[in-house]
Symmetry: C2
Subunit: 364 residues, 2 copies
């Protein structure tokens, strides 16, 4: 391999593939980036077996070749170089890298020891804008379960319907659904590891379109010269639609900011020995929020729109706050049924996002 | 205690005294802030027995009083309130706090259980600008020892001479001296815990003057309405002046940036199994820097001003980088004597700061 490559371009593409390098792999070869030089193109590839990434950039290739080099060391070196052009020559599995007055000689590994990346199959093909994808990830992934023993709930359920897609995350205490209007023409569903979604949105800019290819065991995200592969989780997801009722005994509007701040203050006393327990007393035109612990108590009052019914209900404030914080509208809608059924929170004037929190049942 | 106080002012002063609250105290009373309301003034005080802080702010005091309240809880509550004015009423050791639609009732403790702060004695009095203090702290505290078994070297030695002060920090591998020109008229020396200096500079703005009062066991920093106390470390410091020679076999000028980046790159290969070992080959108009490990090797070349002598010398690159990174001048001076004597680094055109690194002796 004998190449000349632009340092800034190479830095950018190394950062992309490094998202697929695990910090704690036991296979030494997976600490590496596979580099292929061919047809005046450099292809960088990396995998942790769950996430795999392949990205291409232009380079002057004077002699083709293929090797694997330690990802962290190679990335750190390239990022710290200063000249515009890097000259790389690989012979006898040693990479000689020259840039300005810097010369590095680094051992590399054989490329044929590197695992193959998954094949891209075109079973289902969808286009989603980066902006929509970022919004979906922000609004759902925080609500997945951390419990590795029920692995399907660590993922986001992508429920594809003929003319919309629901992205659903839940952990047994709360549930988040982001709906995306889209003429897909099909019905299908998959479960994407939430880590894959979080890593993928880190490498995309806001103004691009992403193509998704979904097959039985994999999802592939494509944009520009980059392909991002993720394995899928297999198993039965929770049948969430039964939880979504349209009729609520109380449907009341609050300022997102006022409600969030009041719940945050009420949580201050409940955070340690009281498992974040706060009590809501929903009255005709305001909500009283109470909380107490050994050291004291707190009373908060938040104005709401007028409604007829009243209700007492208790929550773990953390689950309310997680969902309220990420909302963007000035006013939000709180939908209550009774003290044992979930609170359903939506943005006023936009029903594409639904956040549902189960109440805490109080003894007596 | 019955008071009205401005929320923003109170927030600011709580943040100041919280610098004296230890995260790991075993005395519950030291998790508290002592609040004294008197003469339309609120005095907040906190101590971890090494650092103590007292700060005053205006308040409308309708009934005087004195209590201790949990620092973290009180700070979190006040920071999260939203209205301008906070009403505080303490009766029977319960603080009732009202602000807008928020009401808190918090248990407090008796103020007479709180330890007394040190007395301020006027043995030695000096004024230093905040800007100079911040520079001193930045240029010295990073070089102190972390070894608690030789406690004096965890502090910064303040060596007061008749017309200057040297601030000295060392850990056995490197030494940093920041000199401050000042007509003190006295000769004295103390050792200030580096943590105290680091915490103190966090609470001062750049444009103020600070008054230092030094007595046998304490140093006191005063500004505006705040007093910051620190205990001193007692013991013999290292007699550093013998290390500072004026004559050097090689005294050569390099670009700070070029030298720093070359050493950083050379360190990339040496960081794990090689204890950051880099070798410098100082030639007549450049320095070659080499480093290697099992995975490879690196060669860097940095231009220097012309000089006659040449030298081979080795270092732990971390100690060089710690001192070079904080320098502000474009060019720096590297002074070498031989391969076993320290490298002395200064800023070009400013001899107020001296950074000295011991070389690594290579076998054979």
């Amino acid at each position: 391999m004998l190449i000349k490559v632009n340092r800034k371009e190479l830095t950018k593409h190394i950062s992309i593939v490094q998202k697929a390098i695990s910090q704690r792999t036991t296979m030494q070869i997976l600490e590496g980036i596979k580099i292929t030089a061919k047809d005046n193109t450099l292809i960088l590839a990396a995998t942790d077996t769950e996430i795999s990434i392949k990205t291409k950039l232009n380079a002057i290739v004077e002699r083709e070749g293929e090797i694997v080099i330690n990802s962290r060391l190679f990335g750190d070196i390239v990022r710290k170089l200063e000249n515009d052009i890097i000259n790389i020559n690989v012979e006898n599995y040693t990479m000689n890298l020259k840039c300005g007055d810097s010369i590095f000689n680094i051992s590399t590994q054989k490329a044929d020891e590197y695992p193959d990346l998954p094949k891209v199959e075109d079973d289902i093909k969808l286009d989603i804008s980066a902006k929509d994808l970022k919004n979906i990830v922000k609004k759902t992934t925080f609500a997945v379960s951390n419990d590795e023993s029920r692995i399907v709930f660590t993922g986001v359920f992508m429920d594809i319907k003929k003319n919309f897609i629901n992205f659903v995350a839940l952990d047994g205490f709360r549930l988040a659904i982001q709906k995306l209007e889209k003429e897909t023409g099909i019905e299908n569903s998959i479960i994407i590891p939430s880590r894959s979604l979080n890593e993928f949105v880190k490498i995309i800019d806001n103004d691009i379109d992403v193509t998704l290819n979904i097959s039985k065991n994999n999802i592939v995200f494509k944009f520009d010269n980059t392909i991002f592969y993720s394995t899928l989780l297999s198993g039965e997801f929770f049948s969430y639609s039964a939880l979504l009722r349209d009729e609520h005994k109380i449907s009341t509007i609050v300022s997102k900011r006022e409600f969030q701040f009041a719940v945050e203050r009420a949580s201050l006393l409940a955070r340690e020995d009281r498992a974040n327990l706060i009590k809501l007393n929903v009255l005709e035109n305001h909500i009283n929020i109470k909380s107490n612990s050994e050291i004291g108590d707190v009373f908060e009052k938040v104005k709401t729109s007028e409604h007829e019914e009243i209700l007492d209900i208790a929550f773990n404030s953390r689950y309310i706050l997680d969902g309220v914080k990420i909302l963007e509208s000035e006013d939000i809608v709180l939908n209550f049924t009774d003290s044992v059924n979930p609170l359903i929170i939506t943005e006023k004037g936009d029903d594409s996002y639904i956040y549902l929190v189960l109440p805490v049942r109080l003894a007596g």
